[in-house]
Symmetry: C2
Subunit: 613 residues, 2 copies
């Protein structure tokens, strides 16, 4: 056992060492940060430009934030520049205020002396709760006199905010479309006024499919530094949002560091921290502890919060005959509370009060599916769909308070039951964005649940899900390390992009086309650089054909030099080109091919015997 513990210890510190070496920079020099200039000087929308050997470029959506801009000097203690700061203040509807006093229990330090956080030995000011984060001093902001400072409220008033313009440029859509979709509740733009560092992004079925990466320490392992690094690592590979699901010590401090350094919206499940504050005893939870935690997180800048308000007392018995009961942590906590008190879920009974809090910061609801199925056997059952009905109701309430809402979905669902989830959600929840976890299409492959769920994720996204919560290979087994985070993100980028292509998103297939062109023309470097993961593509190629000339070779290791289908196929094309059948205009080509085709068809039929049968 000592050996095992040593191994684990070593791997954690090894991870940290690798981590810092990758801080900043893209995985290939052929990726370059570029910007679309918006209508005001401070509105510059980042994207990634892939430089091709042909001299051309391919623009790709980019979530990596300032870290990949060579002009930016990253400093994890200073945090990112507050991009949206002036946009928020210029609206004139927020006030800053003293804010809630930090308390030892925010970091799980109950009546004990403050303990140093583990960020770095010798870091001054750390471990002191008055100086949770050493960066620029700030006071929390909120809507003045109960004003709704939400993107939904602005959209409904017909205002196109800089955030909406940013998103429109980012997606290649009209700003008015963005505004309309938000106003209709079909899309959300999670952007807490206290997280000005985030680059606006939109979640809705008319836009590119987004993916979320979960990170978070737990009682069992990991440190603040690791979590901050995992966040930026996840966005480097394409995570559109990150959920911090920390449950152990230093929850508050970890979150602060993540928020100040995150270019993407951050989501949380406030119930986890609330439970820590009552020492893990679900029955001791109360609306007061929960509300206090929500305010704490609103002030820090959390952009969206999972709230399990649909786990109603009367639904709990519906789970008793399930194969895997309640598998959502939040769901099971609320179920336990309901039963212990024989009272209705306090998140449900205080839902309108909660709306009033969230609208003052523009925190988006992610209405949690606490009764989601945890196995194929439990998919689409009464408990799941009963809760969905309540989530639909709550969504309408939230929007009536001008609070943005998305709806969470399963879970474990076999392929033939996935579409019903999407169809019902659309109908019951008025087309509010659906945000699903997978779903996993079989239970039999622990260790590969990024794949079992990537299948379901691609399908449900094609049918309309707006954001996919990633699943890593460690799902059900352990906490994801850096490699697992990357594998989860890449797998979900595949699912999301496959869905974008299938949905016919205007810009989606151009990426596939660029890569296929490179592949067909044996531009190996371009093929690597256009890949979701250039490092892995290049490494795999090097394993079989390491020599530099192979990077420009007109063959690949599958067939070897004299046996290559692409090479033969090119010869075919050249033959036709020689006879004027290709490289002409459309009419010439079609005519040329037709003539050739008919000529050969005649021969073919003459040679071949009549079809028997």
């Amino acid at each position: 056992m000592t050996t095992h513990d040593d191994t684990q210890q070593k791997s954690v510190s090894e991870q940290a060492a690798t981590a810092s070496s990758t801080q900043g920079g893209y995985p290939t020099p052929a990726w370059r940060k570029a910007y679309h200039q918006g209508s005001r000087p401070d509105l510059r929308v980042p994207y990634r430009e892939v430089l091709l050997s042909t001299g051309g470029t391919v623009p790709l959506y980019d979530t990596s934030g300032p870290y990949t801009d060579p002009a930016f000097e990253p400093d994890v203690r200073r945090g990112l520049p507050p991009l949206r700061d002036s946009w928020i203040s210029q609206r004139g509807d927020v006030e800053d205020y003293h804010g809630r006093e930090p308390r030892p229990e925010d970091d799980g330090l109950k009546h004990t002396a403050p303990r140093g956080v583990t960020l770095t030995a010798g870091a001054s000011g750390l471990g002191n709760l008055d100086a949770v984060f050493p960066g620029r001093p700030r006071r929390p902001r909120r809507g003045r006199e109960g004003a709704a400072v939400t993107q939904l409220a602005y959209a409904r008033q017909g205002i196109v905010t800089p955030e909406m313009e940013f998103v429109a440029l980012r997606e290649g859509m009209a700003a008015e479309t963005v505004r309309e979709e938000i106003a209709a509740g079909r899309a959300v733009l999670p952007a807490n006024v206290n997280h000005p560092e985030s680059e606006p992004m939109i979640i809705g079925s008319r836009f590119l499919v987004k993916i979320n990466a979960n990170i978070g320490n737990s009682a069992v392992s990991s440190s603040i530094e690791e979590e901050v690094e995992k966040m930026s690592w996840a966005t480097r590979w394409g995570a559109d949002t990150v959920m911090d699901l920390s449950t152990g010590r230093n929850i508050h401090t970890t979150r602060e560091w993540i928020l100040r350094n995150s270019p993407v919206p951050i989501g949380t499940v406030p119930l986890y921290q609330a439970l820590e504050k009552v020492d893990g005893r679900a029955e001791e939870l109360s609306w007061d502890v929960y509300r206090d935690t929500v305010v704490e997180q609103c002030e820090q800048g959390v952009d969206y919060m999972t709230v399990h308000a649909g786990v109603l007392l009367r639904y709990v018995p519906l789970t008793a005959r399930r194969k895997t009961g309640i598998v959502s942590r939040g769901g099971s906590i609320m179920a336990a509370w309901c039963l212990a008190h024989h009272q209705e879920n306090f998140l449900y009974t205080h839902f309108e009060e909660l709306c009033e809090i969230l609208r003052a910061y523009d925190v988006t609801y992610s209405l949690g599916d606490g009764l989601r199925p945890g196995s194929i056997a439990d998919a689409n059952d009464e408990a799941q769909f009963a809760e969905l009905t309540t989530l639909g109701e709550l969504g309408r309430i939230a929007r009536s308070h001008d609070v943005q809402v998305m709806i969470e979905g399963p879970g474990h669902v076999p392929m033939h039951k996935i579409k019903e989830n999407m169809d019902l959600q659309k109908e019951i929840c008025d087309d509010a964005p659906f945000y699903t976890l997978g779903p996993l299409t079989t239970d039999v492959a622990p260790g590969y649940d990024h794949i079992t769920s990537g299948i379901g994720a691609a399908m449900i996204a094609w049918w309309g899900t707006a954001m996919l919560c990633y699943v890593t290979p460690k799902e059900h087994l352990g906490l994801p390390n850096r490699d697992d985070v990357k594998t989860g993100v890449i797998t979900y980028k595949i699912a999301a992009h496959a869905a974008d292509v299938a949905k016919g998103h205007p810009s989606a297939q151009a990426w596939d086309d660029a890569l296929s062109d490179a592949r067909f023309e044996f531009r190996w470097e371009d093929q690597f650089n256009l890949a979701l993961d250039p490092e892995t593509a290049r490494d795999f190629h090097d394993e079989t054909l390491p020599a530099a000339p192979a990077k420009t070779a007109h063959f690949c290791s599958m067939c070897g030099p004299k046996f290559c289908s692409m090479k033969i196929s090119k010869t075919v094309m050249d033959m036709f080109a020689g006879e004027g059948a290709v490289n002409g205009d459309d009419a010439t080509v079609v005519a040329g091919m037709k003539a050739k085709s008919e000529e050969f068809a005649a021969t073919g039929h003459k040679v071949y015997l009549p079809v028997v049968e």
Copy 2:
């Protein structure tokens, strides 16, 4: 560059070392080989029994052959016992004969002295073409006087062969159903009379979805030993058939070793070897060289052959305007031949002659889709579907000769175009089994094409594809090593099983249920042992919680000990159990839950404010 070469060299020999250590045996002692006894003593159908900590067992389909039977002593030079030998000879319709004389060019040794194969230094008799394989002496067999010795012919005559009975027991289906599906051409049972070592299996949409693993050396790398090891490695993890796509030296010898040691049907693309015989010059190919190669492979025992007879001369120009032209090796070779000679594809013009050869050995056609799309842009185009029409025609011709047929399918297809492939194939090809490569649902993820294609594979299998050809992470980049083969097989087992569940195959979901029960009851060891890959599941769990007690702990590393949803959920169930709501009969349970539910519903509604909106 030297460094690179050294690295590669080392990795190959390291692989070989690992390989031999895994020869024989399951990855966990909780898997045990078991047999269903058929109607005759020599008809014993293997399956895998997973032993649970509860004392129960779960039976699973098993493709690993005798290697995993402790009573069997593997010896790669002796080969496997010829299981079907007496079944074949007792039918009294085959004769053995002298067979084709081996020639140096069979192994790519043109007019040079025979070179030793690389199997093992000091192995006597190797490298001599008269002693290609040292095992039991055998003469090839074929149908006597042109008799059709195919399972299709027997099925049509109303005969249930031992092979069919074997398959019925293996699938848990009635033998008569097996016979009917084969007779109707909706299923194939690939079983060359010269490959008696293979354990019968069936490919058809009413049966479990099957997967194929491609192996094969090429001009660039790998040895005979590696390929034999890859074959048994692939079947160990669940490959139902293996295609040997070797293209370099020693093609004949490699194939002989693979066949004599393979418990699963072996497929090939004879065109590859034929092309080697004409030194890679497509225009020098001829029906004679091809026929000679087919006979050579029929005599060795190849169970199914990919034949690109649908690449007609008139279809070739249809590919000239494609983004990626012709990406099938076989397709491009035949296209080049057609154009060079301005003649119709000789595989098409000699198709009936080819049928006569295959029916004498019971070799199954896998009609190749030489014009399959190699990119999202080319999916479902005119060239692809024109060829499919011809494959439908050829399928009818083959069946009229009593030859079994399956149809190959794409390739690269975005999600929204997958179903059209399946629907058209069913219609055009009279429900002949469809055998697809993926399809890949996006082009942008080289290095992860097991995943881009696993998504498409699961979907198309759900819709009716009978066998899925795996894609490894190395697709488009290099040759798969052992790890890649395993990853490809596991990914495709996931896709196939997800499809079995979605199709409602009678036995499929029982596996998911058993694993989910183990998960919910914190039977960690059972969860690992029921996984597709117990090693990986266990290793991942150990990374976070290595200590032995964690294997029986009632929590996992995701939440830690005090925060576990499953634990809370159990408490919920117990509460209801205490009040008689569960553990009763159905009526009691429903009544108990209903009472509780109503009681709480009333309270819930009283507490909560009326729904707004």
